[in-house]
Each structure stands twice: as C-alpha cells, then as structure tokens.
C-alpha cells in the first residue's frame, strides 16, 4: 500500500519534470518568434526595459515596408526566381529519380554525383558563376539566379522523389502494361498520381530552400531589380539598423509563405527531411 503510494508519487514527479522541460523547450523555440511578431506590431518596439507584449499596437510598420519601402519588388523577385527554379528542379529531378529507382543506370554513380552537389559550398559556386556571367551581362538578372539555384534544387528534389518513387511497387507499372497501356499511358495513369505527394513535398522543400537562399543572391544580384527577400532583410543590419518595427514586420511577411507551405506539407515534411 505504502509502496504503491510512493511509486505513484515518484511517477508524478517524473511526469511533472518531463512536462516542465518540454515546456521550456517550446518557450525556447517559440519565444523568439513571438518576439518577432510583436516587434512588428509595436508602436515603440525599442523600450528599456524591453517588453514582450507592447503597450500600444500599430500596423504602421507593415504599411511602411509594403508601401514606403520596396519590399513588394523583392517579393516579386523572390517569387519568380523561386517558382521557376523550383519548377525546373522538380521536373528534371522527377525524371532522374524515376529512372534511378527503376533502372539505376550507372549503378549508383549517377545518384552519388547528383547528391554530391550538397558538398559544394555555395560561395564556391557563386564566385565562378559570377565570373562566367559577368561578361555577358547576366549579373543582376532573374535568370542567373534561377540557374545558380539548380545545384541546390536538383539534388534535394531528386533525393526526396527517389524515396517516394521507391515506395511505388514496380509491379503496379507492370500490371498496367499487361492490361494493355503503353509506357506513357502507364506513367500518366499510375506513376504520376501515386508520386504526387512526393512531387509536392519535393517542390515545397525545394521552394523553401530557394526562398531562404542568401549567398548566391548576394554575389549574383546587385540592385532591387533582381535582389531577393533575404538580401532586403539583411539590409536592416547596416542601413536601417534601428528600424526594429519594420524589421519585425518584414520578417513576418517573409516567413508567412513558408509557414503556409510547411503547414500544407506537415506530415510529408517528416518523410522528406528524414530521408530514410
């Protein structure tokens, strides 16, 4: 009797400790984000002592970054570059991943080659690309960024789709062929519908990587005609260092698409990131 009580008591203590630590963890994760959020809404974000929740709220900072500054231009650039480069990466990657799972030409060499791109430091790609294209006037254009992002996009999307294609049994395609459908019909009727979740998570992860990319954009673009959001945000450090309200607002705007995308892909993100 006494023993059970004691046991229950120690169980309760363990439980409380576990929840306390998990609680601290969530505060650690979310605290900075909440801080960002309120900074963008505070009339006066820089107070001494600092306040997490501001006393007066305003949408002024959002209006400023969207209308007084040129954030929409940077957003446009980011959207175009991200969309086009993701589209190319995913289509090229889907073809490669399919061939690699079904026939593996080159016996592992090709997949190793594609994945080894991850070992290239972006700055070590950016400098030679800069030198390649500076002569023909492509610097500070969307197309140079779109091209430069392919070594990021193709490996990640190929890798993710490899995992998803591997899960489609090849017997399904064989059954379809036996049923009398041609190769192309089989691809459209069986492979694509079943690979759709994989293709969309590859697209989402690739898009997130490109949306966030900084180093290549820093080297290859020079004005707001082609610069992307991370470059705009980084500008707060040097030129507008004290404009915390705008910084918070711009940060929130920049991460909104990512939050939406990763929410859409929630469960599949796990599969994509774990790369089993």
């Amino acid at each position: 009797m006494e023993l059970t009580k004691l046991h229950n008591y120690s169980r309760l203590v363990t439980r409380a400790a576990v929840f306390a630590v998990i609680g601290l963890w969530l505060i650690w994760i979310w605290g900075p984000l909440v801080w960002d959020f309120f900074t963008g809404l505070a009339v006066n974000p820089q107070t001494d002592p600092p306040q997490l929740i501001p006393t007066q709220f305003t949408l002024e900072h959002y209006r400023n970054v969207l209308f007084a500054e040129d954030m929409p231009t940077y957003i446009r650039n980011s959207v175009i570059v991200t969309t086009v480069s993701t589209a190319i990466s995913v289509s090229v990657g889907a073809l490669a991943a399919y061939a690699l799972t079904r026939y593996d030409p080159g016996d592992g060499q090709v997949s190793f080659f594609i994945l080894s791109m991850r070992f290239l430091p972006p700055i070590a790609v950016a400098i030679p690309i800069y030198m390649m294209f500076v002569g023909i006037g492509w610097i500070n254009t969307w197309r140079v960024l779109i091209l430069a992002y392919l070594p990021i996009g193709i490996p990640i999307s190929t890798w993710i789709m490899l995992i998803f294609f591997q899960r489609i049994p090849k017997e399904l395609e064989e059954a379809s062929r036996i049923d009398g459908w041609s190769r192309i019909q089989t691809w459209r009727r069986v492979v694509l519908p079943l690979a759709a979740p994989g293709i969309s998570s590859a697209a989402i992860l690739t898009a997130i990587l490109m949306w966030n990319e900084y180093v290549l954009a820093l080297v290859l673009t020079t004005t707001k005609e082609a610069q992307t959001i991370p470059i705009y945000l980084a500008g707060f450090v040097t030129t507008r260092g004290i404009l915390w309200g705008r910084m918070g607002a711009a940060t929130m705007i920049a991460i909104t698409p990512i939050v939406i995308l990763s929410f859409l892909a929630q469960e599949r993100l796990v599969a994509g990131f774990t790369l089993e």
Partner: protein
Amino acid sequence: MARTELDELRKEYGDLVAVNDVSLTLNDGEFLVLLGPSGCGKSTTLRMLAGLEDPTDGEILVDGEVVNDRGPHRRDFAMVFQQIALYPHMTVRENISSPLRANGVDKDTIEDRVQRTAEMLDIGELLDRKPGALSGGQQQRVAIGRALIREPRAFLLDEPFSKLDQKLRIQLQKELKRLQEEMDVTTVFVTHDQEEAMVLADRIAVMDDGELQQVDTPEQLYRFPANEFVADFIGNPTMNFFEADVSHGTIAVDGVPYDPPEINGHLESVRRMAARPEDITPVPADDADGLVATVELVEMRGTTTYLIVDCDGKELTVLQPDEQRIGEDDHVRLEFDFENVSFFDGEGDLVRQTEHDRTETSIR
C-alpha cells in the same frame, strides 16, 4: 487456336544464368504449373513470356509467330502478381475494368463485363471501394478479376496465393481451378509449393537452377520422377533415398541384400533408390534379413500416421501400416515395395523398370 511456345529461352544477368534454354509448349486450354524452389528461374520464365523481361536469347512464339519484340501491352496475356499489384488510387471497378479501357472497349460492354466478373468472383459489393479497404483475400480476388475480365490468350499467375493463409489459399485454388475449366483458357501458374501444383495442374513443369527438369502430369511426376531432384521435390513427406546396387537378381539397399519378387529391365546402371513412405513397410524386427531401424517418432497426420525411424544414423519416413501398431523405440525391419520404388543411375536420372512402366513419360 492459340498455341504458345517457348523455344530455347535464355536469360542471363551478367554471369548468372537465370533461365537456361527452356523449351516448352503450352497446349490450348491447359493448366500448366511452373514449379520449383525459389531462385530456379520460374518467375523469370513467366515474366519473359509476359514481356516484362527481355530474353537474352531464344524465342517466344504465338501461333508460330515470334513475339519477342512486342511489349507487354501488345501480347494479350493477363497476369496476376504475387504482390497483388492493384492500383491503390483507383476503385475496384476501375481496377477490374483497366484492361478493357486500355483496349478502348465501349462503356456499356465494360459495365456489363464488370458486373459479370464481379458476380463470378463474389466481389459485387466491393466495386466502389479502394483496394486499401479490402482484406488480402478480397484483394487477390479483384486481381484475378482484372485478369478474367478480358478474354486473354493466356492467363499468367506468379505465386498469387503465397501471401494468403492456408484456408484462404485452398479456397481460392479451388475457385481458380473451377473458373479455369469453365473458361477453358490456357493458364500458366508459377509456384514453389508442390502441393498447390498437384492440386491445380493439368501438367507440371519442374524447374531447378534455370533448367527444366521434367514436364508431366501430376500423377506421372509423382510416380516416375525423371531424376533425383524431382523425386526429392515432389511429394510430402519427401522420398527416402538409399544407395542401391543391382546384380544377379538381388538388390543391395545401403549394402543390405534384398530379393525382390521379380526384376525387370536393365538395372545394372542403378546407383540409388528412392522410396515413398507408403512403399516401405515396417515389420517387427525378426531374424530375417533386411534394414533394421528404430522408431524415433510417431507422427499423426489426420487419417495417416507416419513413423520417423532411425536407420543406422539415417532418418527415414515410413507409413504406419493399418493393421499394426508400432510405438516409439520399437525396432523394425524395413520391407520395400520394389515395383513402386524409383531407381536412379550415377547421373541421378531415372532408370526405368520396363515391365512396370508402360506409360510414356517425357522430358519437355
């Protein structure tokens, strides 16, 4: 009528010969089972027939015409896979009708045929469900339905029941056999389960190590295995093997002389003998000559009882005679029914007892 032939069909993967010059003719309307241990090349043979693998060499002929170059969608074979392979994103109806839609059959005919097929297989209620919501047995019925709905040149099945439990397997075997007879469609069925092969087949083609060992009816295969591999592979419990030497009217079985009632044919070349459990009779040990063994285990199997006996270190399985009760640790003397045992030469090939073997058997 559709006559399908395999002519010296060969498949190599690098240095590995998976299928070694297999020649085989499928008669119209027959149920042929390709039987062999895993890795013997039976599935590869079937897949080459279906067009899913390209042969390294040899030809596949349909009505005398070589079809090697035709893709699987242009061979008009239906196939059921071991992995079932139903399209998970389509309903049962869409799955079953897939072959008809591929061939551009009109809507009304499709609906009609779907209904008839569903009725035949008792899956009428499942038509609007997705495969994921079905049990293993139901899924396999749908897969069979997808093959049955067309009137294919031949019906190819690759170990379709191997993942189902025993009871379901036996039930589906019966149904398949009945449907096959009703529809009279040529069928090739791959399995590693010799009992399944015996139940289903008109003819069985036994393969080992990429080579065809024997093609024959189940009865002939059981009674006259063409070589030691087939003898060992067919039948459960398996055959008992002995060293054998025939001279001057006596047979030395594992060195112990026996005097058979009559010996026919030229058995000088015999080196080994194989006897089924029912061809060995244990009698209580007495002073007479013969192999002596000790009963180690009495194994009840429903109506029959087998004795596992130890004969000078060799384990044998013999049938418990009806009239006698023999218990564990009893000493027994073994008598053979020499008319029914099989003899093999030094190469492991069957040596016939001419007088007795009237029926012709053939390899391929």
